[in-house]
């Protein structure tokens, strides 16, 4: 039941050990075949082979690479200028120090497995309280209170970011979570449905934004259901032929779909106004009886509108997750062959996941379009990947998790905005995500099912791939 000599029982060790042991294991065996006569003494070799030394080397190498990547650029006359200025400069010490600190952290965390376990036991009562119904309700109420208070406490630039980056991406991540987290399908073109939602809004709400527009214009609120249906339909059209594919093939096809939609938006100038983007989508407004309200440039009302929708979606998806549909998705994710044999119409349920995910994305597209100007650049492949990263980082299959993931990652992006050159931002981003995947592969706030699946996958039990790809089907 256990692989690579690690027993996956204690909380602390299982998180760090598997990432180290598997790579280390084949190393010495390979070298043992080669006689070490020409090399230095066996003592030194032994030391070089030991895993802490390996890790130190890796950490320092990565920090040097980071130093070069974030350092000054070279040019054709001085090709090594960049490297020289970034490595042979005092700033290299900062990077080496960071590398060293990271190595020390890895060492301490793997040594302190036992201590962690004790701490874990001491913290267990807290975990148990949070698992009970009143505990969960209290936790969620606290999160909601923080979310309601958040815009009051931050600058207006941060408020804008709360809406455009965090709020929209939280909504997108909730939708993608259905596809990736629940049904276990890898969708790399998810942002296409977001684009469809935004362009549907452009079509129906303004006569000036796009060359191609509806004869009658509506309030963006009335476009919500239309965009939802159009995006869901697009999801079904894409999913119908492609969901018969498994794993990697599906990822490639969805990637292609995302690219096609973005290219269409960019190049079909006579329809979408091309790369210049769409201006002039009116702000949403409510005119029901005595209530008249117009959303405007102030980001706060948008924030609360988004928050309302996010809470609604979290609630609705919780219901679906606990229903027969959620269980059938989990079954498909864990063993598609067994699910099919147990009578689960797998294709139909995967299509449903695609359609639901797409409709949330289209929904987010309407809110995004009605809040500001948009152009095809907003719907790049990078954006699709960012949503996927938010889902994995936050915790696949966990609704609170993906929202927290959006807050943390987009919060980080906002924090780095003025601190580092824009081109370097993704380096830090990547470093955070890599560290996360090493130390906490289940995500920030993992769902209980997902946590179990990852533990099982690490223990080598079939059918549970951390990315949710379909297991091998040896019949």
């Amino acid at each position: 039941m256990t692989t690579s000599g690690t027993t996956p029982s204690p909380e602390g060790t299982e998180l760090t050990e598997p990432s180290v042991t598997p790579q280390r294991a084949p190393g010495p065996r390979r070298h043992r075949a080669v006689p070490a006569a020409t090399g230095p003494g066996p003592g030194l070799l032994e030391l070089l082979r030991s895993s802490p030394v390996h890790q130190l080397g890796a950490c320092l190498a990565v920090s040097v690479v980071l130093a070069v990547m974030t350092g000054p650029d070279g040019d054709s006359d001085h090709p090594f200028h960049g490297i020289a200025k970034s490595v042979l400069a005092p700033r290299i010490f900062i990077f080496l120090a960071i590398g060293l600190a990271f190595w020390a952290l890895v060492q301490v965390s793997s040594r302190l497995g036992a201590v962690k376990q004790v701490a874990g036991e001491r913290l267990a009562p807290v975990g148990r309280v949070l698992e009970t119904r009143p505990g969960r309700l209290g936790g969620n109420a606290t999160l909601l209170a923080v979310a309601i208070l958040a815009p009051q406490l931050v600058s207006s630039a941060a408020q804008q970011s709360l809406v455009n980056d965090i709020g929209i991406y939280a909504l997108l991540a909730l939708g993608l979570n259905v596809v990736v987290g629940y049904a276990g399908l890898l969708d790399l073109g998810y942002i296409a449905f977001f684009a469809i939602g935004a362009y549907v809004t452009g079509y129906f709400t303004t006569k000036t934004g796009m060359p191609w527009h509806s004869p009658v214009v509506f309030n963006p609120f009335f476009v919500l259901p239309i965009a939802l249906l159009v995006a869901a339909l697009a999801g079904v059209i894409l999913g119908g032929p492609t969901l018969r594919l498994r794993g990697d093939y599906l990822a490639i096809v969805t990637l292609g779909f995302g690219e096609i939609v973005q290219l269409l938006a960019n190049n079909a100038q006579g329809i979408t106004n091309g790369p210049r983007g769409v201006f002039g989508v009116p702000n949403p407004s409510v005119n029901v009886g005595p209530v008249h309200y117009q959303w405007s440039l102030d980001p706060k009302p948008y924030y609360y509108l988004l928050l309302g929708f996010i809470v609604l979606v979290i609630f609705a998806f919780g219901r679906i997750e606990r229903s027969r549909i959620g269980r059938a998705w989990a079954a498909i994710r864990e063993d598609e062959i067994a699910a099919e044999a147990s009578g689960v119409p797998t294709l139909r349920l995967k299509l449903l996941a695609f359609a639901i995910g797409a409709s949330v994305s289209g929904f987010a597209g309407v809110l995004y379009a009605s809040e500001q100007f948009f152009s095809p650049q907003s719907f790049s492949f990078q954006a699709s990947i960012l949503v996927l990263v938010v889902v994995i980082f936050g915790g696949m299959g966990s609704r609170i998790g993906v929202v927290v993931g959006a807050v943390v990652l987009q919060g980080l992006a906002f924090y780095l905005r003025d601190k580092v050159p824009p081109a370097d931002r993704y380096i830090y981003f990547g470093a955070v995500v890599i560290a996360m995947m090493i130390f906490r592969p289940q995500g920030l706030v993992p769902s209980r099912r997902r946590r179990r699946e990852i533990q099982l996958a690490e223990a080598g039990i079939h059918g549970a791939d951390p990315l949710g790809a379909a297991p091998d089907h040896a019949a």
């Binding site: 059938a328 062959i337 147990s342 009578g343 059918g463 040896a474």
Partner: protein, 288 residues
């Protein structure tokens, strides 16, 4: 331990006419490129009967199951299945979940549970195949959604009780011991409300005590009127539980009949058990 094995072979449930055929396989041929996995296999199963398919490794037993359940598409032949009170239907060319919907459930040779779901949830997946709740019903908590949810839990607990896993309701499937995982898989299959249950080597890898439990379980399943088609290597189990036996070798049926007839058949002794006929344990022979 031997007392249960001494019992008489289970008789057909009362009221099943001799020509009440639930499964009629005729001339089934399955080829993978140049390899012929099944070569004109024909068999009939009466309703409520426990029919065992035996044969050496590679004889085509699991291929036969995969053809019946829609996982493979054989090149020739027909499989006619008659559900309770239904007209005969052709099974070939139907998708696995459709076959399950028609009332045929199966288990796998190498257990395929949903490892991170609880025992209850595993069975619920099977039970809920017959339910109708859609996404809107689930979100809005419509009366039917709530009723089906209650029914699903109640029925699943009942089935777990039936297979003897009542105490495991909230345990994670992969945490169960091997024998219990086998029974959980059977419970999940029963959840789909089948009239024909296909068991692919249910006793593989189980210990003698678990085998006895399993024998009793298979009899109880047949006792509820469900026909059981059984692939099994364990001859003692086959001889004690099956009312008819079909022997496959190299994709062909080489013998069929009652366990006693098959045991005497020289072709079976020759092809399946080797020329040393003494290797066949008789159901009454007890040893532990």
């Amino acid at each position: 331990m031997t007392t249960t094995l001494d019992g008489p072979s289970p008789a057909d449930p009362a009221g099943s006419a001799p020509d009440d055929i639930t499964l009629h396989v005729s001339d089934l041929t399955l080829r993978f490129g140049g390899v012929t996995s099944l070569d004109g296999v024909s068999l009939r199963q009466r309703r409520g009967e426990i029919l065992a398919v035996i044969g050496p490794n590679g004889a085509g037993k699991t291929s036969l199951f995969n053809c019946l359940t829609g996982a493979y598409r054989p090149q020739e032949g027909t499989v006619r299945y008659t559900g309770v009170g239904r007209k005969p239907v052709e099974l070939l060319g139907r998708k696995p979940h459709v076959v399950t919907g028609l009332g045929i459930a199966r288990t796998f040779q190498n257990i395929r549970l949903f490892p991170a779901l609880t025992a209850l949830e595993n069975v619920q997946v099977g039970v809920e195949v017959r339910h109708k709740t859609g996404p809107f019903g689930a979100i809005l908590g419509l009366p039917r959604a709530r009723r089906e949810e209650r029914e699903s839990v109640a029925r699943s607990v009942e089935l777990l009780d039936f297979v003897g896993l009542r105490h495991r309701v909230d345990d994670i499937a992969s945490s169960l011991p091997y024998g219990e995982q086998r029974r959980l898989e059977i419970a999940r299959a029963l959840g789909t409300n089948p009239s024909l249950l296909l068991l692919d080597e249910p006793a593989a890898g189980t210990n003698p005590a678990e085998k006895l439990d399993l024998t009793a379980l298979i009899r109880r399943i047949a006792g509820t009127g469900i026909s059981v088609l059984l692939i099994e290597h364990d001859m003692r189990l086959v001889m004690s539980v099956a009312s008819s036996v079909v022997v496959l070798n190299f994709g062909r049926v080489i013998a069929s009949g009652t366990p006693a007839e098959v045991q005497r058949d020289p072709a079976v002794i020759e092809a399946y058990l080797g020329s040393d006929g003494a290797a066949i344990p008789k159901p009454t022979e007890g040893e532990s």
